[in-house]
Symmetry: C2
């Protein structure tokens, strides 16, 4: 498929139509079908509410963990866990019949692995399996937003087939960790894929050719998933596995977290990486962070980040409690994994030192 937005819209439509057909047999055809997802889902944040405007679905059931931040610093919001899913569905049931929310029929639960918007955290694997069972009992489809599924599998220490097993449908992306130029894939059983091909046409997604993306995606997939199998590798570039990327990131974060100067102005979310990425929270203004970055570059020739974002200040606990004003996403990828650990340590320590002089 050309993109993940399209792939996941299509997955939702297929699961919803199926649910609608089942519901009609119970004479509940008037009920609207929608889906459930974590409050940081890509569908809620980055798709111009396509689920409403294009898919004509009600507002989704939101599994929110937004208030479960660390009370000492306002960060460390958890991913969707079994308890969060159970609690959300129980609340739905307890709402009165007059309540618009209570009339929702949920066709699908979307679980993002890893949760990108909260630093690549993963739902505990036991929870994934129990959520699967819970959904099966309720006849709700389990869809995986696996934009970074290969990274998640590495984080869990599972194979791709193992991590795919609990889901009814999965979307994976090829242009993130797998380093393709673009491209996505939607996976499910045969009936699901047959339906998906029809929807792909309706969305205008079956291009005259996808060759440039297909070649690049296949290349990236092979390089990154067959990485330990040298016989299958024709590339001369040695790709570092996602496990090794995560281990390297973990080493660096552990050392930085015990540094007194760094600790004063920087926190990592999660404190220990669950995949090859995390968020870096900074107790300084965007302007000061960029100044310190540039000063670090002059002193060490190391540029510690490219882009930094402001924490939305008003009422955001990371700002109100922890006094964090900015954050950035730090990923250990093909581009930076080749650098020595010491380069990261020197860069971030110098940055923290520069920052402390500015604040």
């Amino acid at each position: 498929m050309p993109s993940g937005v399209m792939a996941q819209n299509i997955a939702l439509l297929i699961h919803s139509k199926q649910k609608q057909q089942q519901q009609q047999q119970d004479l509940k055809s008037q009920q609207d079908v929608t889906f459930a997802c974590h409050h940081t889902s890509h569908l809620l944040l980055h798709e111009h509410d396509a689920f409403t405007h294009l898919l004509q679905m009600k507002k989704p059931l939101i599994i929110s963990t937004a208030n479960e931040y660390d009370k000492t610093n306002g960060i460390h919001v958890p991913p969707a866990r079994l308890e969060d899913v159970m609690h959300t569905f129980e609340s739905l049931e307890q709402q009165g019949e007059d309540n618009d929310d209570a009339t929702k029929v949920i066709s699908t639960l979307i679980l993002e692995l890893p949760h990108r918007e909260i630093g690549g955290k993963c739902t505990p694997w036991d929870d994934v399996l129990q959520i699967k069972q819970f959904l099966k009992d309720q006849n709700i489809a389990f869809h995986c937003d696996g934009a970074r599924l290969v990274e998640a599998a590495a984080g869990y220490g599972l194979s791709l087939p193992e991590v795919a097993q609990p889901f009814d449908s999965i979307y994976i992306s090829f242009y993130k960790g797998l380093d393709s130029i673009a491209g996505a894939m939607l996976l499910g059983n045969k009936d699901f894929c047959d339906e998906a091909r029809i929807w792909l046409r309706r969305f205008g997604g079956n291009l005259y050719t996808l060759l440039p993306y297909a070649v690049s995606s296949w290349d990236g997939y092979r390089k990154h998933t067959l990485v330990d199998d040298d016989d299958d590798m024709t590339s001369t570039t040695k790709i570092v596995s996602f496990q090794e990327k995560q281990r390297k990131l973990t080493r660096i974060v552990q050392q930085l977290s015990s540094d007194a100067v760094v600790k004063k102005c920087i926190a990592f979310d999660p404190p220990t990486p669950e995949t090859n990425m995390l968020h870096v929270y900074l107790k300084a203004s965007k302007e000061h962070c960029e100044k310190a970055r540039d000063e670090t570059m002059i002193q060490t020739n190391i540029r510690v980040f490219h882009r930094i974002r402001e924490v939305f200040s008003k009422g955001h606990p990371a700002c109100d409690i922890g006094n964090f004003q900015c954050y950035l996403e730090l990923t250990m990828g093909d581009g930076n994994v080749g650098l020595e650990d010491d380069v990261f340590l020197e860069g971030w320590k110098t940055f923290a030192s520069c920052l402390s002089k500015l604040e």
Copy 2:
């Protein structure tokens, strides 16, 4: 945009939402908004009824010229003309209020230039201008399915700006005559394009990069539209203009049409090309046509066609009246325009001769 299917769906949504907003002011918010198009429109034939299933629109208002075939041979169905548009809208008005069709509100008229499914025929240009005025009076958007708009412009003897002028929005394709690997463009005024960008995201059409298609499309567009301006051409390949392609096709068709053996089993639709393409109708079975093609190749080393389609026999006038069992699309493109006229003439005359021996 990645594809024409997506581009035209988006155009319809934008025009429909605008119409809906206008209608709501007149307290007609319950009325469904849909569109009008010729009975051979791509949207009716090749998109799995996306207008119903994805766009949630009513069945479109169909401008049918299907019964206006040549009574002597069952072919030569005309394109949508002013009279057809007027007649269709008048019929809609005359229908009673109880009729579901009569409650349709038409947001958009889609006009395909040229009409691909009937051999590249073009709505007479005066009709296009008068349809524009008619739609303007009714506050209906005029959208051009310009998958082959550059070819249509050549057929009309108009420049691209001239042929674009009457329309509120236009889709053009880059991978047909313009020879890109894939890619499309949707054009309209600034507000329209701003809206289109939001819908592009909702459809999952704003890929991480469109570079391979963008490069190829820009290259094809330059080569084919700046063809007379040698200073702007860096390519060493001399591209033959669409005008010249049409002239060549016209010469060949004229000569073949006056050949006694050819005339017996072959008819061209339209009789004189209106663009660089047309349909070839054959009074023989698919099996015989393919045999004659292969025999022609043995005798002359010329392969006259690649793919042939069966005329849907039951009740199709081309079959019932004209006894045509098959047809094919013949396009004069970059790949075959370099051949001498005599190659086409020898090939088709030999083919007709082979076919006459089989029937």
